[in-house]
Symmetry: C2
Subunit: 348 residues, 2 copies
Amino acid sequence: MIEDKNPQRTSIAQLGEFGLIEHLTKNFDVTQESTLKSIGDDAAVLDFKDKKVVISTDLLIEGVHFDLAYMPLKHLGYKSVVVNLSDICAMNARPTQITVSVAVSNRFPLEALEELFEGITHAAKEYKVDVIGGDTTSSQKGLIISITAIGEANEEEIVYRNGAKQTDLLVVTGDIGAAYMGLQVLEREKQVFQVNPNSQPDLDMYSYLIERQLKPEARKDVRTLLHALEIKPTSMIDISDGLSSEIIHLCKQSKVGCNLYEDKLPLDPQFISTCEEFNIDSTTVAINGGEDYELLFTIDINDFDKIKGNPNFSIIGHMADESEGINLVTRANTQIPLKARGWDALSE
Amino acid sequence: MIEDKNPQRTSIAQLGEFGLIEHLTKNFDVTQESTLKSIGDDAAVLDFKDKKVVISTDLLIEGVHFDLAYMPLKHLGYKSVVVNLSDICAMNARPTQITVSVAVSNRFPLEALEELFEGITHAAKEYKVDVIGGDTTSSQKGLIISITAIGEANEEEIVYRNGAKQTDLLVVTGDIGAAYMGLQVLEREKQVFQVNPNSQPDLDMYSYLIERQLKPEARKDVRTLLHALEIKPTSMIDISDGLSSEIIHLCKQSKVGCNLYEDKLPLDPQFISTCEEFNIDSTTVAINGGEDYELLFTIDINDFDKIKGNPNFSIIGHMADESEGINLVTRANTQIPLKARGWDALSE
């Protein structure tokens, strides 16, 4: 939708592989003390001293994970980094480095790759992570991005998925469901645009939802917030596939049950009004819509006083004995078993 | 070419993403002391204590990096791991972990992915590295493999590309060029097969070349061999793009020149005879053909006595002042400037 009327198109082949890598990576600074050697050798060299190293990786495929019709390349670059850093944050670790591999078909001019790397560079600066390596190659079809994120933490800080106890409280950061509704708005605009390419969409009333979809943030701040409150979560995960699916992960790995309260779900007013406009049940979207990249965690019940009323956190339920199952407690006070339907549930 | 007459075909969709990951990763053991937490959380957790961490990543795309017409999936899985471990070995580090991300189009049945992962598992066992994470997703077209390799080393052991001095000797492990000729043999057989699918190729006389192409090995042993000889290379790189290209990398990063001697190139007899059969100049293939995954390194001239006559190593040249340039000294004793043509040179 964002188009340059006189785009410059430089063929990638003109630069060659090594020229391309050099050109795209020249803006990457090294700021982390743990980065001894960055791009330019067979491998990067890192030194974490007495810290533990946390590593996660993701593969993003055009047409599967993103649609370039409404995803500007700069945003895509930013988001690709963020979704990986979110996994590091979900371990209660501090993101420090990433590697970035990109494959593109020859329909992409150099300028498109530059835009993508602008977004990657921006995210790396924003989150203070070093880009220490990667690979640039051609693809048979579309754009492929593979990112590996690296972080560090002291051993006692690291939070796994399997530490929830049956008396723990269930807490979520921020609000949920908005990224999914942002996608719905963008999908609708794409269809309008295909029918009438001259239409000028007014998306102001959906700005928050669209931002959540196109420019999500990893909750790097939560580690600091919790540290200040002297709370260490007993289990934690990030919300990529949907709240429901993530709760089930925590419960299964911790061998506990859970009651999630419908009336406690943190929803943004724009999210609620747009659900009404689209005639979709907001609770269904809130528990199944993915890509919010908020953190979901459990805390000891004795930490309740430290967190209650804190605007960064919502207590949305409590864990229970495994035999109780994993349930949504509705406003009408009935228990419905949660299913890990994720996005599929919404496209039915 | 290797075909099962009654192949079983299970749709990947039947298992779902989490089921698929669980199914494919169930054979991965953890053997490295540094792996604290492997697959199953938002990220893996590693502990390298006082060692430095070495990280490299590669993206392999069907139709660009491999052709499934002659590359059995099990070999492809094995080779994908090996090419990444080779980068770790090129830092004089010890490979310890890998992450493996795979995207496949729905034309791949589960059985095909199982074969791929069998090769990956085999390589992980052979090289004693833990598979600590990854991602499994669908692609719009073909098979995509992204692997990140992790290794460890003491700081003083690590060898970079930029340490060569102008008086150093240039050394290569094993022999070179065979992997490229293996590819030529396989390409020829593919064309014969396309014309006559009933032809039974006799590839015995090319067995070494084909093995070099389909089942290369990373020179993990070189670290130990050099350690025993009390030699620390001054610079090192692995041969993935071709000897010529790698020599130029060492020279440029070390700011030195080089003389490479044609009559010192280590060539296998099968390689020489097949070059004759294909009517290709063996020196051109040896210096430009890639994918040998041997190690190329420089040593101090005072280490000459420690390495001379050692069957694992060939001294193929010496470094020089930067102003001398980077040259091939032919059998006729003429100097020809080396070019980083890599594979392109051979397809001209």
